[in-house]
Amino acid sequence: MTQYRVLPGPEHFLPPAAASMGIYLPNPGEAHINGVIVPEEKAYEEAARQFLMAQVPTIFPGPLVLWAWNEKAAKKAAAVRKLYEILKECVQPGQKPMLIPMPDYRPKYPKINPEVEINPNHPNLTIWHNKIDCCMFIGVHCHQANLSLKIIRGGTSCYTVAMCAQAGHEDAMLSFRDASVEKILKLGEWIRKLKGTVKPRLTTAKTSASN
């Protein structure tokens, strides 16, 4: 059993892939928190708690839900929007939920506009700019999500959640697997359930800038 834990960074310039440190993926019905396999129910509660604690809880939808490839993708997009609306309802004054798309995987030169998008090749720019301290990836192809989650862990202190439609992500601090409309909405229910019971981590501008 590995002693390594997937924790908010900044870990260091080149953080190891969590898989190479002995972290493995959950089986169906399970999730992982910091690399420890847990029942899925526990992960809903923890993800909701992290969102409600964060100063800038943010959802990053990727191309698999941004584009209506099929009916299922459009339904997932609607669920993502619903989750964002729930988050806005449930946060306290001073918290600023955001919904920022990842429309393209290609590196953008000469610059990215971090206010309106995130790019997997330099996700830290969007996180730093908006002072994001908790984020969730959804609808991002696995390879790009892994790359991005590792960069975030390496260079920022942001807590990362992956709502993965496949087998999950070791490099996220919390990862679901087999994401579906029902699972996205269930996370929304947990956020509603914990509303008012979690103290937000409201920090000064100076400390949050150290993200």
């Binding site: 941004l66 584009w67 209506a68 459009a74 929007r81 798309p101 429309p103 290609r106």
Partner: protein, 300 residues
Amino acid sequence: MSKERIKISPDLYDIMPSDYQDLVQSATYGKEDRGWKDIGTSKELIEQHSLCAGCPESMAFRYILASLPNPEDTVMVGSTGCTSLVFPMVAVHNIHSLFGNQNAIASGLKRALSVRFPDRVKDVVVLAGDGATVDIGLDMTLQAWFRQEKFTTICFDNELYANTGGQESGLMQKGFVAKMAPVGKLFDKVRLPEIARESGCHYVVNCTVSKPSLVEKVIRNSVLIAREIGPTYIQLYTPCILEIGKNSMEGLQEMRDSEKPTERFAYKEYVSEPAKQFLAELAAKDKERKAAAKQLAGKA
């Protein structure tokens, strides 16, 4: 990315950056008569780019992307060089190959697309610099032509390795002294258009990008001939203004000077017999289509 096939999820439409919304709403995907005249009036398939101010390569990119007959079903294969900095900004599927590998990648890609999509027309267009096409990738370039692979090869000829500071390339003109080639080129510019013709290309053009309507015609012909008959090769002069000591505003004039009848980029075209026949049939069909459209408009 045909707009009939690709739609933004309605619930997340408002958060998509405006570039992507515009691509769906006002790009020229699926438009039969698309061309350089759409530039400035509809969403272009390239807007920002990371090239130097006034770089003729950026003009070439604009004209080529506006002229592709079937951009939603086209895959471009790029290579190392200034062009590889632009591809992330291009709204056409594209692949970055290893330096010089581009025609080998394109060969496999074209064959795979034919197997995967037997009922759909898929075009493959290679776009690489002179270093990738003539020096490092000459083997792959020629072998693709020998095998009669059905795709277009476009070479952006700036006559040196501009991206790395100005080293000598095979397409550099004899006697030219570059920043990193102080002795001056000792032998003649490689005559790749002639080699292309002898290697089996059915349509070969050597020109500059000073005239957008000419670029449009050349690109359209080359893609359509490659689709139906066999390999085509286009060599476009896109001078590196920095490496030849020009200012941002002087790129266009440099191209005009280089395309005079006695100069090395005077317009040269080779069309094989099957390609000639194909173009004639195409022109006849086009005429028919336009006449029918005119008649229909008259009735309306």
